[in-house]
Subunit: 212 residues, 2 copies
């Protein structure tokens, strides 16, 4: 299957897919799309939402990072990103959604722009908004990792997978905005275990072709 | 499998699960949790995120509505909520995520409260924020329904499923906030086809045990 990825180096949703491809050992053609310059808005390969990432698989477009992860899992099952048992799969998916639905959408670029440009929110208050959602959201993830008995070196046992692909970019972003997350021991342990792996280290925003 | 659902009548994420349970013909014990009164904050059955919905399945908690839909699909495959083919499944999941990640998180109660109470955004501007994201987001969904060749009476063909469970509550919410969506013909067609089915009509916010 020929895979082409449309990505921006700092887009955390794009990094989810870069990490998943790397964990599965899948090569892709990498196309950088510059979000801050607005290149996505007129880009014909991204679809009507004009959002990153987009994966093209044998000429068919797949959008939304979590749908791309599920698609990769279904078309390239080995190594798996999800555990086998339904409750464990629900745990992993719900952790990923705790980030993808409760943190990331509030803090992406178009939302921060709306706060600033349309609502006239000051820079400090805008950064406070960012940190509020990421600190509150990652505290929930940390509590779940500690309480639900499924964490090993990674979010679920000792194999990196679906939830780790979502956690790592969010932690990177949180650090970039100087959110207070260092005390979230389980989150930080998982982050560091992941960053020791080539699948995460080699797909880090500083290491991709469009890095600045 | 004994199923217990923690839900709030107006919570659109809760309605997704109510509809999915109904489409699969699954009975559950219904527990209303009053979001506006803050009952979720001290509720021990919801988990660390204190969000609705939560499903308990034989004494195990599953959170995040889309993870619950996947869990129901895996544990009760018939009738399926997802099509069989990976690209079609990716289309359905990405449509659902276009709503669950790009619209709903920006417009839920805790976010609107933060805008008002912490950022001091006026009522008109707050309602403008709400309508902006829902109008822009549902326009994307409409364009995809029209362009991608998979829509039938429902989001994917002539069988109601996963994406419809997410679309219907979002349209209901949009109408409640008087967003301009009546011109989104494909979205409205799907909404009306769904509302003609008992699985959606009988799980409507006005029809559940905690309705006001």
């Amino acid at each position: 299957m020929k895979l082409e990825l449309y990505s921006y180096f700092r887009s955390s949703a794009s990094w989810r897919v870069r990490a998943a491809l790397a964990l599965k050992g899948l090569a892709c053609d990498y196309h950088g799309v510059h979000l801050v310059k607005g290149e996505q808005l007129a880009h014909e390969r991204l679809g009507p939402a004009h959002l990153l990432p987009a994966l093209w698989a044998d000429g068919e477009r797949v959008t939304q990072s979590l749908a791309i992860l599920e698609f990769l899992e279904e078309t390239h099952p080995e190594p798996p990103l999800l555990p086998a048992e339904p409750l464990a799969r629900a745990y992993v998916r719900s952790l990923a959604l705790d980030i993808a639905c409760e943190i990331h959408p509030l803090n992406n670029l178009r939302v921060l722009k709306y706060l600033k440009n349309t609502l006239g929110v000051a820079e400090d208050a805008k950064n406070g908004w960012y940190r509020h959602w990421v600190e509150q959201g990652l505290a929930v993830v940390n509590e779940r990792l500690l309480a639900e008995g499924r964490k090993g070196r990674f979010c679920c046992g000792d194999t990196p997978g679906y939830a780790d692909c979502v956690l790592v970019p969010q932690v990177f972003n949180a650090q970039r905005f100087e959110a207070r997350i260092e005390h979230l021991s389980a989150v930080m342990q998982v982050f560091e275990a992941c960053m020791a792996l080539p699948a995460f280290a080699d797909t880090h925003p500083s290491r991709v072709p469009d890095a600045e």
